[in-house]
């Protein structure tokens, strides 16, 4: 107990030296915590904007649909999936879609298109559909005989809102699917390749056109939190047993993107490790100096009868006290900084809008790792680093050290 009090007093006796040590550890903690936060924040941010603009975190299909897409490989019992998804609190939004190929014509021009049947309301929540409209308007809830064209397709067909486009295709039952739709809007999804063939219909109209009878080809699910996606996917899988459906997360259906992001995560981890190393070396340097420069002081302590193990304990306690103080103060600042950056981000250039998303901000994240990783590194290092000089100081020869100026 006495040791604790002496150690504590020692810190405040030499204010300038303590302040320097404190600041080194403090800034080291805050900056490395910020680095870790940004690492997580970027990963989540990129993945979220990638998935939330079109693909969703989870997709449900008929089990062979992705390998061999066909009009008749459908999710038959959409109401059952709907009930399941509605009962899971982790689902933020979901939307059914159906896909079919067709030929669209306007005047002299004809183009192969991909018909995408969407539920306008649900799609707004799941993929921000309304934000991608470049011209014209979104579907109304009661819309029928209306179409939204991808920007590239509209350009090729020379279509403007108000024009009437005719589509010809084959329905699921083999009959000819043929109808005319009025263009109400043009869409820019940020992906020119898909916009060149995109032909959006309200889900009901598409189901009527292709005789799909309430069925869908794909259901996308957006989870509330990215780190809960895997757990959510396995709950959906369990809930849909024996239905002949397959449930996949973005890691599977957007595999090359996933691999890309894993590279990014690995790169960030390497950089964070280097940063932590520099922080550790800073701590090492500071503590080592602070102890070595005070040999005379420890010599006097010894001369007046302090036991070696008490000096040893004193040095360790003092260093750890300081580190704890710095980590505590650093946590407060890093909570504020990371919290702010998690919400507002830092902007680095003019906004570039990509599929209705702003893509030019770096965000941070708040989680346990942000505090735990730097805190553990610093505390462990402080103890380790103080050990050697503490041992040395406890074995000092008082007569010799006191002869130092």
């Amino acid at each position: 107990m006495l040791m604790l009090r002496v150690a504590f007093r020692n810190i405040f006796r030499q204010k300038r030296r303590s302040l320097l040590t404190f600041l080194t550890i403090f800034f080291g903690f805050v900056l490395s915590s910020l680095a870790i936060g940004v690492t997580f924040g970027t990963f989540n941010g990129v993945v979220d904007s990638f998935t939330r603009t079109n693909l969703g975190h989870i997709q449900i299909h008929e089990k062979d649909y992705l390998d061999r897409p066909a009009l008749y490989r459908t999710v038959d019992d959409v109401p059952r999936v709907s009930r399941l998804l509605g009962s899971l609190p982790e689902v933020e939004a979901w939307a059914p879609r159906c896909y079919a190929a067709g030929l669209a014509s306007l005047g002299e021009r004809t183009s192969g298109v991909q018909v995408i049947g969407i539920d306008p309301q649900r799609e707004n929540g799941a993929s921000r559909f309304n934000q991608k409209i470049k011209e014209g308007r979104v579907f109304r809830p009661d819309s029928s005989k209306e179409v939204i064209l991808g920007a590239g397709l509209a350009k090729y067909l020379k279509a403007r809102p108000g024009d009437e486009v005719v589509i010809v295709s084959q329905a699921a039952d083999g009959s000819i699917a043929n109808d005319a739709y009025r263009v109400v809007g043009l869409l820019d999804s940020g992906n020119p390749e898909s916009d060149r063939i995109a032909f959006y219909l309200p889900l009901k109209s598409a189901q009527e056109l292709f005789v799909l009878d309430g069925k869908a080809h794909e259901i996308i699910v957006v989870a509330r939190r990215l780190d809960r996606v895997d757990a959510l996917a396995s709950r959906i899988t369990t809930g849909l047993q024996n239905s002949g459906l397959s449930v996949q997360t973005w890691k599977e259906f957007a595999r090359s993107f996933y691999q890309y992001m894993m590279r990014d995560r690995r790169n960030h981890k390497t950089m964070t490790t280097i940063i932590l190393m520099i922080v550790a070396i800073g701590v090492l340097n500071t503590i080592l100096m602070a102890v070595l420069e005070r040999r005379r002081e420890y010599g006097i302590l010894k001369a007046v009868g302090t036991k070696p193990r008490h000096i040893f304990a004193l040095i360790l306690l003092e260093a750890n006290f300081l580190a704890l103080l710095a980590v505590a103060a650093g946590s407060a600042l890093s909570l504020a900084l990371n919290g702010y950056l998690a919400v507002h981000g830092i902007q680095y250039a003019q906004d570039v809008t990509f599929a209705g998303m702003q893509f030019t901000r770096v965000y941070s994240a708040l989680n346990v790792e942000v505090f735990a990783i730097p805190a553990v590194t610093i505390l462990v290092f402080t103890s380790l680093v103080a050990l050697f000089p503490a041992l040395k100081a406890s074995r000092l020869d008082p007569a010799r050290t006191m002869r130092m100026y």
């Binding site: 300038r16 030296r17 320097l20 600041l23 080194t24 800034f27 080291g28 900056l31 490395s32 680095a35 940004v38 690492t39 970027t42 990129v46 990638f50 992705l66 390998d67 061999r68 940020g190 992906n191 020119p192 595999r255 090359s256 993107f257 691999q259 890309y260 894993m262 590279r263 990014d264 690995r266 790169n267 960030h268 390497t270 950089m271 964070t272 280097i274 940063i275 190393m277 520099i278 070396i281 800073g282 090492l284 340097n285 500071t286 080592l288 100096m289 602070a290 070595l292 420069e293 005379r296 002081e297 006097i300 830092i346 680095y348 570039v352 990509f354 893509f359 030019t360 770096v362 100026y405």
Partner: protein, 407 residues
């Protein structure tokens, strides 16, 4: 002046332990900055390779309009001129010719529509990774011109394996007549990516040309650059040189626009992390210098007491900071060079992440002269600047007070 320099140097050499600790700390900081810089270039190259290395290439040349609908007749204009231009172009590292066509692939079990790619096996292997991810059979090792290399998913769909026959049907360039040929599956690759593994088939360039009736022509030139930046610099003069006479040359950023924003964001976070390291090293320098000067108040007090002028002491401390910086830079440069040089040769192999092959999984830091000029200069300037404040403090010491030291 000279005396102060000598004195400063002797001073830092007198307390070897302190100097070594301080010099090593600053030196490691400098080495870390050099290494981080080299590593960031390596990461960036790796991310670009992840996007461009599988098949795309860092840039492509087509006839204008070919990308819209793969019209077989739209071959690259003046191919011989373009090829000889590329061969002598200093910016270009490697290139390969391709013929591309929509095709039907028929086996005894089924039929599938694919994009058939006629390739020059030797140069293609240097641009794309198809040869690296062969899972069964081999990559155009035989001499027959009827070899076809297909993806693993496609092999499953068509229920074929090595040695099985496939019939390829394409529409010829002139007139659109159908042209058919029998091939034998000689290799099966797997990128573990559905799209790449289910929709492409590779045959030899000459065979593809004769099938389509476009002898000596090509649809696409995929290339890589000596400098990775060229591929994403939209204003580079390279694009203008080859985007004429009805051809268009595009960088991967234009070919895959959605990756651009992802890469930008990832880069931005990198720069942010680099900045944090920079600040940390600067703080380390300040701290080291302050410590080593404030702990010596007694010593400076003695110097003042024996008659050193305040300016003389100020100069001494600043010179000491300079000498320490020189020493640290020596340590840092040596350390930074050794670490970066070795890792640049051997590369880093990250295990635990499932990528196609280990060779694709290596990161190579990139050494640049700039790293060994800018960062040491920064350390020199910053160390001297950081020494100025404590130097003022030392110069203004009152000798009597400084000497009345406590323990």
């Amino acid at each position: 002046m000279k005396m102060f320099l000598k004195l400063a140097w002797r001073n830092i050499m007198r307390n070897k332990r302190r100097t070594i600790i301080a010099g090593t700390t600053i030196g490691i900081g400098l080495a870390a900055m050099i290494f981080m810089d080299a590593l960031m270039i390596g990461f960036k190259n790796d991310m670009i390779r992840a996007t461009t290395g599988q098949f795309l290439g860092e840039g492509q040349i087509h006839a204008a309009g070919f990308r819209d609908n793969m019209e077989p007749a739209l071959t690259i204009r003046g191919l011989d001129g373009v090829v000889s231009g590329l061969r002598s172009d200093a910016a270009v590292d490697r290139f390969t010719l391709r013929v591309l066509s929509q095709a039907m692939l028929t086996s005894s079990a089924g039929v599938n529509s694919v994009v058939v790619v006629g390739v020059q096996p030797e140069t293609e292997a240097l641009i794309s990774q198809v040869d690296d991810v062969i899972v069964r059979g081999d990559y155009f090792k035989g001499s027959s011109d009827r070899e076809i290399v297909i993806g693993s998913k496609l092999a499953d769909l068509l229920e074929v394996d090595i040695g099985d026959r496939l019939v390829l049907t394409v529409a010829m360039a002139a007139g659109g007549e159908l042209s058919q040929e029998m091939f034998r599956v000689s290799g099966i690759y797997s990128f573990n990516l559905r799209e790449m593994d289910s929709s492409m088939a590779f045959i030899r360039l000459a065979k593809a040309q004769s099938l389509l009736g476009i002898d000596g022509q090509a649809h696409e030139i995929a290339l890589t650059f000596k400098n990775k930046m060229t591929g994403q610099t939209e204003t580079d003069p390279f694009w203008g040189r080859y985007s004429r006479n009805g051809n268009e040359a595009l960088g991967w950023v234009k070919l895959q626009p959605q990756m651009k924003s992802v890469l930008q964001l990832v880069q931005l976070a990198m720069i942010f992390l680099g900045l944090i390291l920079f600040i940390l090293v600067s703080l380390g320098i300040i701290n080291t210098l302050f410590m080593s000067i404030y702990e010596r108040v007694f010593e400076f007090g003695v110097m003042r007491a024996v008659g050193t002028r305040p300016f003389g002491l100020w100069r001494l401390i600043v010179f000491e900071a300079g000498s320490l910086a020189l020493l640290s830079i020596g340590i840092g440069l040596a350390l930074g060079f050794v670490v970066t040089f070795i890792t640049a040769q051997t590369g880093f192999n990250y295990r635990g992440i499932e990528f196609a092959k280990a060779t694709i999984n290596m990161i190579y830091p990139v050494l640049e002269l700039r790293q060994f000029l800018v960062y040491p200069l920064f350390v020199m300037i910053f160390t001297i600047l950081a020494g100025i404040y404590p130097a003022f403090h030392g110069a203004r010491l009152v000798p009597a007070k400084a000497l009345r030291r406590t323990m």
